[in-house]
């Protein structure tokens, strides 16, 4: 038998743990690889003793040229204390090509005599012979571990990709006079991007774009859950703010630590071109109008972070020839080789180009790739959805409606604040021949001005190219002024307006504004609203037989 077997208690083999800065002293186990099979002669095991990178013992062993006796060391070393506790007497450094790769630890001899010079010589020879083999075994094991890790990551990647692909839509909505295109490009590590479309019961289309923090399978699973929630809640709740609020409630209960989801959910009314949306911390959508790119703005916290969040809703108009772009941050956060980031201004500039459908997507990707260079390794998922409305789409405002009597005036006015005075002056000029003068005319002028201002500011979203429509008609007994808009401001709450509380306004408890609807209702004989195919109209009625 060898001398190893003659040693009484224990031999530990310190094996490199894979980093240069640390030595692990492992109690060998029978099923461990060949580099850690130094079974103690007695069968006893020593507990693993780690030598920390800043432990002075490490420096001693690294520079040692011969066997180190534990009793002769006077170091403030945690590892040395542990060795003494385990009755280790000798440390035989194992080196390969000048590098410390491990150490043998020896307890007292079975004979309880000191180690002899021969013992030491033999141990040194043994260490010299064993080290190269141990080093080879270590390298083989490292390689095997790395290969196993690589395979595990590949497998995870396949699973994440599979989950991701499963939840992407198989087809895009086919809407008359709209060209819709989408792109999803996973990064190698697969982020948590997603997009989808939801058919709503009223014929409108829900559009979802989202991004889960983190990557791989955890992100894919959260994406799948978020996707399921939105698909279930959107047709039920419809309103974007309510949908995101509900999604946040559910996700807060089950979101893994340090993860959240940014998401933009919008409802597209394809016939009207309106896009009503809410935003949970996602990038703001870009809208391109006549070569100019603007943003649709709404803010809110990402999903799954904090409970009881509410989400602001906003509405924008995609006019004929306009395009809307929804995208993930993998786009704007892409880096060139110089380290420079692609950023919002470049995306905005690229989006200003007039292109349609997949050509637009291709154009945006080409611009990105020109910036990043050919050897770019994509850092994050890339997602974009583009919605373009045909230039020849129908006008946004329904100009027809039931006409009472003869039409005396029928005009469109650009939606620019201040133009309500044009409506007021035109209507005034039209009705004077009907005998409407003096205070009654002034009252009608105020009502027209307020209704037109409301239509411009809210109903048409203040967009000049989305005109309001003013029509005056009259019968012998009644004058009617009809002011139509896109209905973007939501339902006009006529009939509900009480006299505004001026004291509350003075105390700062209410906005000093909010007089418009009150004035409209106070100034004419009757006010009604009409829903039109394209929006909403306020109809002002003045009795002509009432006289002054």
């Amino acid at each position: 038998m060898t001398i190893i077997q003659s040693l009484r208690r224990s031999i530990g083999l310190g094996a490199r743990a894979g980093t240069e800065a640390r030595l692990d002293v492992a109690a060998p186990a029978a099923d461990e690889g060949p580099s850690q099979t130094a079974t103690p002669a007695s069968g006893a095991h020593i507990a693993p003793i780690e030598i920390a990178p800043d432990d002075p013992l490490l420096a001693v062993l690294t520079s040692a040229t011969e066997i180190v006796e534990v009793d002769r060391l006077a170091l403030d070393s945690p590892a040395l204390h542990a060795m003494r506790d385990n009755d280790i007497r000798m440390i035989v450094p194992l080196t390969a090509q000048g590098e410390l790769i491990g150490a043998l630890y020896l307890g007292p001899r079975l004979s309880e005599q000191d180690y002899s010079t021969d013992d030491r010589r033999l141990l040194s020879s043994l260490a010299g012979l064993a080290s190269p083999s141990i080093r080879v075994a270590q390298l083989v094991q490292t390689q095997a571990t790395e290969e196993a890790e690589r395979q595990r990551m590949e497998q995870e990647l396949r699973v994440a990709t599979m989950i991701q692909q499963q939840f992407l839509p198989h087809a895009l909505p086919d809407l008359p006079e709209w060209q819709i295109a989408a792109y999803y490009g996973p990064a190698r590590a697969v982020g948590g991007d997603f997009y989808d479309f939801v058919e709503l019961p009223d014929g409108r289309i829900g559009v979802i774009v989202g991004d889960v923090t983190d990557k791989g399978v955890p992100a894919a699973l959260v994406m799948a859950r978020t996707h399921s929630i939105l698909q279930a809640e959107a047709p039920r709740l419809i309103e974007p703010g309510a949908v995101l609020q509900r999604a946040n409630e559910l996700l807060c209960q089950e979101m893994p630590a340090n993860m959240f989801v940014t998401c933009l959910y919008g409802v597209l009314d394809a016939a009207r071109g309106s896009f009503r949306f809410a935003n949970a911390g996602h990038n703001l959508p870009y809208v391109r109008t006549n070569g100019e790119v603007g943003e649709f703005r709404a803010t809110g916290m990402p999903l799954g972070l904090l409970p009881d969040m509410t989400y602001e809703e906003a509405e924008g108009v995609v006019g004929p020839g306009d395009s809307l772009l929804l995208y993930s941050d993998g786009f704007v956060e892409a880096h060139a080789q110089s380290g420079e980031m692609y950023g919002f201004p470049r995306l905005r500039e690229a989006f200003a180009v007039d292109a349609v459908g997949s050509d637009l997507v291709d154009h945006l990707l080409e611009d990105l790739h020109r910036f990043t260079g050919a050897d770019w390794e994509q850092e994050d998922d890339l997602t974009m959805v583009t919605l373009r409305r045909s230039a020849g789409a129908a006008p946004l405002v329904e100009t027809r409606g039931p006409v009472e009597g003869d039409v005396l005036l029928d005009i469109e006015i650009e939606s620019i604040l201040g133009n309500e005075r044009i409506a007021m002056d035109q209507v005034a000029a039209t009705v004077v021949p009907l005998g409407l003068t003096g205070e009654r005319l002034e009252r009608l002028k105020t009502a027209v001005s307020e209704a037109a201002m409301n239509a411009i500011e809210h109903g048409s979203g203040g967009r000049p190219e989305v005109p309001i429509h003013v029509r005056v008609s009259a019968t012998p007994t009644r004058l009617q002024v009809r002011i139509a808009d896109m209905g973007l401001g939501g339902e006009i709450p006529l009939g509900q307006s009480e006299v505004p509380d001026i004291e509350a306004k003075l105390r700062g408890e209410q906005s000093p504004r909010g007089w418009g609807l009150f004035l409209i209702e106070a100034m004419v004989d009757e006010v009604a609203t009409e829903q039109t195919d394209q929006g909403q109209a306020v109809v002002l009625n003045v009795n002509l037989d009432g006289g002054e």
């Binding site: 604040l417 201040g418 309500e420 005075r421 002056d425 205070e439 002034e442 009252r443 105020t446 001005s449 307020e450 201002m453 006299v499 505004p500 001026i502 306004k505 003075l506 105390r507 700062g508 906005s511 000093p512 504004r513 909010g514 007089w515 418009g516 009150f518 004035l519 106070a522």
Partner: protein, 116 residues
């Protein structure tokens, strides 16, 4: 009443100070574009530290709901500063609007040539 400025003209203001009264003379249209002018006019009037402010609407041809809101804001500032406010030169139509909005409960409405 024939001297009213055209509706198209943006709001202008000038200040006259008498004993115990700062008079803000307005001209043009009182709407959202007049916010800065009216706020500056009140600030200038406040410098004189007169206990009363009179707003002269004689040359104002148009007041809309946003203009009403600007008057409300001025009244809030005046109340904070302990000043009384009165309005002069309103047409019948805008007198009615000041009445139904209850602005006339909070400021004295005086006729042309009348002393409050």
């Amino acid at each position: 009443m024939t001297s009213r400025a055209p509706v198209e003209a943006p709001l202008v203001a000038s200040i006259e100070n008498e004993d115990g009264l700062s008079r803000i003379l307005l001209g043009g249209r009182l709407d959202r574009d007049g916010e800065r002018v009216l706020a500056d006019a009140y600030a200038a009037a406040a410098v004189a530290e007169a206990p009363s402010v009179e707003i002269d609407f004689t040359d104002v041809g148009y007041i809309n709901s946003t203009g009403i809101a600007l008057v409300v804001r001025l009244l809030a500032d005046a109340r904070r500063d302990g000043r009384s406010v009165r309005a002069r030169g309103l047409t019948e139509h805008y007198r009615e609007i000041f009445r139904i909005t209850r602005l006339s409960d909070l400021m004295t409405i005086v006729d042309e040539g009348e002393d409050a």
